[in-house]
């Protein structure tokens, strides 16, 4: 091997490293830019009033997005009530029961559903719930978000359960424990952190959905008192304010966007904390 060949090899190595580093940075850059821009534009309107007051009448300065923040949390809770049990149990079925043919079809459909545009989900629930009930409602909003997270949670639950080594199933069954107990009291608890991670990630994904809520939750200027009434949500409020002609509302929209991004980031950070704990315990 000649000297110059070594140099050439080293140069190629270095070039590859720089290229991959540049691409990794390119991924992080948009997020950093968004965060920075939101901080700059929105931090001015972030005050106590923003978090505690309802929107003020059109044209009046002031008011806040308290109902939208609470509304978003409420919708996520409703979505979780529908999506978590169905998704987790569906994932358990795919992993622990079911024949390979049936499972293939279920996964196929779930993957297609994952790709359905969110606005179509909104129109679907509009026809399903809003029209028969003759009104927009928090329930409809919770249902549409819940339906959206079911295929997500089902797939992540299945993946995580498959990672549990088969040795545990065999050891438990060899003790004469019934299969459903083995699954619910031994296998699922072993995979619990992964399942919760999947749930939090799915919630983080739908927290920012606007289009489906346009057709279901609709938005509300006031507090929501019944699940059958329309409800405010952060993405909806941001949308309404952003397309309005009022300067004050624009500033509040930026603040709302910042709060939304912070909420989603908090969900993702808690996911990272959860998974990091597992490695820190160590064997």
């Amino acid at each position: 091997m000649t000297h110059s060949y070594h140099h050439w090899r080293n140069a190629k190595n270095a070039a590859m490293q720089i290229l991959t580093l540049a691409c990794a940075l390119a991924v992080v850059t948009p997020l950093a830019l968004i965060f920075f821009h939101l901080l700059k534009s929105g931090i001015g309107a972030l005050n106590l009033e923003f978090f505690t007051h309802l929107p003020s009448p059109v044209g009046e300065v002031g008011g806040g997005m308290a109902n939208a923040i609470v509304g978003s949390c409420e919708l996520l809770l409703l979505a979780a009530c529908l999506g978590v049990p169905v998704g987790v149990l569906g994932g358990i079925f795919l992993s622990e029961y079911g024949g390979s043919k049936l499972n293939w079809w279920i996964r196929f459909v779930a993957d297609i559903l994952n790709g359905v545009p969110s606005i179509i989900w909104g129109i679907f629930v509009y026809a399903l719930i809003v029209i028969p009930a003759k009104g927009f409602s928090a329930l409809a909003g919770g249902v549409v978000l819940g339906l959206m997270i079911i295929p997500l949670i089902m797939r992540t639950t299945e993946e995580v359960l498959r990672l549990v080594p088969n040795g545990y199933r065999e050891a438990a069954l060899a003790l004469g424990i019934a299969q459903w107990r083995v699954i619910m009291q031994i296998i699922v608890p072993t995979a619990l952190k992964g399942i919760v991670t999947g749930i939090l990630l799915a919630l983080a994904r739908v927290a920012g959905e606007t289009a489906p809520l346009l057709f279901t939750a609709f938005g509300n200027r006031f507090w929501n008192h019944h699940l059958t009434d329309p409800i405010a949500a952060l993405p909806l409020q941001i949308f309404t304010y952003a397309i309005s002609p009022y300067e004050d509302w624009h500033r509040q929209a930026w603040a709302g966007a910042l709060v939304l991004l912070l909420m989603i980031s908090m969900l993702s950070v808690s996911v990272r904390l959860l998974t990091r704990d597992r490695f820190a315990d160590g064997k």
Partner: protein, 272 residues
């Protein structure tokens, strides 16, 4: 909800006069097929109660398959089919009237790789077979736990840290924990699939001493690829080759004066 079913009770005091050798398992023409490929062919064998029976043979000869047929573990594989019959202390374990769950409580199993449940403490691991089968009485559960840990020679090492996570134990301790876990449900038979193959010689020696001690109360069937181990601890040895039972006899005879040439070739190391 299923209530915990205790196996037919054995009297605590063994009669002084030696009881006639009882057959724990009576296997007749057992064949096991996976997707129509026969892994075990027409195996017939009588496993003695209260003794250690070693199953030896080269890799792929069907030892583990035979072992897993004894506690109906093959039902977990969708492609497995079984022919023939297995009688456990006079009862056909594959009869449609018996559920696999009941069989598995009478026939316990310890695996090659120790697998204590990672989310549970040492105490919970030992008692999981009791609790998840419906036993509620705290004092019985705790009593069984202490007994089982003493039976598997682990009690002294863990009695001060019963609520520590089971995965914090060493490899040899984990395997003894798995043995205690299997013993806690008071099976009649303990199946062991190469239980010491992943352990260092010191831990292996402890497990072997354990097995010799346990055979007074249980029937033990152990699969091992370590012929010296089989010679050390077993009373009877069965030699399998390519899915067939070649020879089954007292351990001493198998290793010093086997009847079949294949057996002799294997135990003297000419192949395998």
């Amino acid at each position: 909800m299923k209530r915990f079913v205790a196996p037919p009770s054995k009297s605590d005091q063994k009669p002084e006069s030696p009881a006639p050798p009882q057959s724990a398992f009576s296997v007749n023409n057992l064949s096991v097929l996976f997707s129509e490929h026969a892994v075990l062919k027409n195996v017939s064998i009588d496993i003695r109660a209260n003794s250690v029976t070693a199953i030896i043979g080269p890799s792929g000869c069907g030892k583990s398959t035979f072992l897993r047929a004894l506690n109906r573990m093959h039902e977990l594989s969708p492609t497995a089919r079984m022919q023939g019959s297995i009688i456990l202390f006079g009862q056909d374990i594959y009869s449609p009237k018996i559920e696999p769950v009941i069989v598995r409580r009478r026939v316990g199993m310890v695996f090659q790789k120790s697998n204590p449940f990672p989310t549970m403490s040492i105490a919970d691991n030992v008692t999981v077979g009791l609790r998840l089968n419906g036993m509620r009485d705290r004092s019985t559960i705790n009593g069984r736990m202490e007994e089982s840990l003493k039976m598997s020679a682990l009690w002294d090492e863990v009695k001060d840290r019963l609520s520590a996570p089971a995965v914090s134990l060493s490899g040899g301790q984990q395997q003894r924990l798995c043995i205690a876990r299997a013993l806690a449900v008071r099976p009649e038979v303990l199946l062991m699939d190469e239980p010491a193959s992943a352990l260092d010689p010191l831990a292996t020696a402890k497990i072997e001493d354990l097995i010799i001690e346990l055979k007074k109360q249980f029937t033990i069937v152990i699969v091992t690829h370590n012929m010296q181990q089989a010679a050390r601890i077993s009373d009877h040895t069965a030699f399998f080759y390519l899915g067939e039972l070649i020879e089954y006899d007292k351990t001493e005879k198998i290793f010093t004066n086997p009847s079949k040439k294949q057996t002799e070739d294997y135990v003297t190391g000419r192949f395998g």
